[in-house]
């Protein structure tokens, strides 16, 4: 049952990663001429998807070897990285609109703030996950 769940989670992860990549590819082809800021906004999600693919590949490798996709240490890593991502989401929801208004003098629309929050919290989650999973004690 646990193995089935892990396999299902991995398949869903692969489908989501592919869907994100296809969406971005469509965006790039339809957008025409892109500005440097837009390239940065594309590179960050690509990095996130690349990290997600690495995590999925690691899971598949373990499942194939007959080992669990995640164990108690990795579950703790997941929770801690999720906690850091959540804190980053709260901070970025406050600081992104404030800093753009103070430093650049323009007010961000809701959609841009949401995008920034998702990208920043995703980035913090991925970096924390990759750093913590390479360490022993998570506490």
């Amino acid at each position: 049952m646990k193995k089935m769940k892990a396999k299902l989670e991995t398949i869903i992860g692969i489908v989501i990663a592919c869907a994100v990549l296809i969406t971005m590819l469509l965006y790039i082809t339809k957008a025409g001429e892109l500005q440097i800021e837009e390239y940065i906004l594309i590179i960050i999600p690509v990095l996130l998807v690349a990290s997600a693919i690495y995590i999925l590949w690691d899971r598949i490798k373990n499942i194939k070897a007959g080992l669990p996709a995640k164990d108690e240490r990795l579950i703790k890593v997941n929770y801690k990285a999720g906690y850091y991502g959540f804190i980053a989401a709260i901070w970025s929801a406050v600081f992104v609109p404030l800093t753009t208004e103070i430093l650049f003098g323009y007010e961000l629309i809701g959609g841009h703030v949401t995008a920034a929050v998702v990208i920043i919290s995703g980035l913090v989650f991925m970096i924390s996950y990759l750093c913590l999973s390479g360490r022993g004690n998570i506490e």
Binding site: N62, L67, D71, R73, G136
Partner: protein, 65 residues
């Protein structure tokens, strides 16, 4: 904290992967445990001790003891 996992694993001729399979964790977790870099849950400590035919007290040695 030190552990005797590596020593006992060698005694029973088990690889890290084999022990990991027996106790249901990933190989890296066994590696971190052997290095004393990870504090396992009571259940995992019990499972490892059982598979290495020893007790938890015998397997995990605390430096201040």
């Amino acid at each position: 904290m030190r552990t005797r996992i590596k020593e006992l694993r060698a005694r029973y001729d088990l690889t890290q992967e084999e022990l990991a399979k027996k106790v249901g964790v990933r190989r890296e977790t066994i590696l971190f445990l052997e290095k004393g870099k990870y504090n396992p849950s009571l259940k995992l400590a019990h499972d490892i001790a059982k598979n290495l035919h020893t007790t938890i007290e015998d397997l995990f040695i605390f430096e201040d003891e």
